[in-house]
């Protein structure tokens, strides 16, 4: 086993993590609510309609954050996989169990809102386009991870198999990102890139950024809450198991 870097080592202690989560949760949840209220009102009622898409462009303010979160959560799963396989970080497997369903929800919502945009704009709910198909693959990877991590009687085996799946599946993330450049797709190319100026109006970019920050804070709050709950549940299980053993020992004596 390799030595754990300092920062990881500090938060490998569940008690330390619970203290951090307790301090961060109020900020994350209130930030999420504030950004989402402003972003949703701006996106629905204040941002202008697109000259080609009309009001349907407003679906982008929920669709794009879900796509971003689906990819980010999967990257989180892969990082947990590395932490679990290389350093045996005690919280990495618990975090992977809790991130999986949240990421799957984001991927499903990305696909559904994309379909709800596609029907009026393209005239179809679904096409086997490279971007859509690679996002569907990501959703199936999430389902596989959720099933695999709970599939074995011995939890460590399931966690190890799921960590390997998370690492192997990470190849889908660059495929999703670059699919619109590598293939001729019906899905439009990226409007926001790290290197170039955005190709959309600032009146549309602001609500998009605000809803993206809001949903990101919200998902962080949900994951921190679920992980804190999982730590409490695990402690309760350990205490119960110990008290059962003590009772058995005293009966034998």
């Amino acid at each position: 086993m390799r030595p754990t870097p300092n920062l990881l080592h500090r938060y490998a202690n569940p008690g330390q993590f619970l203290r951090l989560a307790h301090a961060l949760l109020p900020w994350l949840s209130s930030g999420a609510i504030l950004f989402l209220v402003v972003g949703v009102i701006w996106g629905l009622f204040i941002a202008p309609a697109d000259w080609q898409q009309g009001d349907t462009v407003r679906i982008m303010y929920v669709h794009v954050p879900m796509a971003w979160l689906a990819s980010s959560c999967y990257l989180g799963l892969a990082i947990c996989g590395v932490l679990s396989l290389v350093w045996r970080h005690p919280l990495a497997d618990l975090a992977a169990i809790e991130i999986g369903p949240v990421g799957a929800c984001a991927a499903a919502l990305c696909l559904i809102t994309g379909s709800l945009w596609g029907e009026p704009m393209w005239g179809t709910w679904w096409v086997w386009d490279a971007r859509l198909t690679s996002m569907l693959v990501l959703f199936f990877l999430y389902l596989g991870h959720i099933a695999l991590i709970r599939a074995f009687d011995e939890p460590a085996r399931g966690q190890r198999a799921a960590a390997i799946l998370a690492l192997a599946g990470v190849i889908d993330l660059p495929i999703i990102k670059f699919s619109v450049q590598w293939w001729n797709t019906l899905h439009q190319p990226d409007s926001i890139t790290l290197t170039g100026a955005p190709t959309m109006s600032m009146m549309m970019l602001w609500p998009l950024l605000i809803t993206t920050i809001g949903f990101t804070l919200g998902v962080a709050a949900v994951i921190f809450t679920r992980l804190s709950a999982a730590i409490h549940e695990s402690r309760a299980r350990q205490l119960l198991a110990r008290s059962r053993l003590d009772r058995r020992d005293s009966q034998v004596a």
Partner: protein, 55 residues
Amino acid sequence: MMHLPNHWPYIAASYALTLGCSVVLGLGAALRLRKSKARLAAVEGHARRRERSAS
């Protein structure tokens, strides 16, 4: 701007689904944390009482 048909049902469905799922996930996580804290407190209390009675 060219005339476009009314697409608000699609928009409303997208927002309702996304925000609805977010609320369900958030409330579900909060309730689970509350329940797990209460359960841990009960188990810890029980263990403490057992230790006291054993000593």
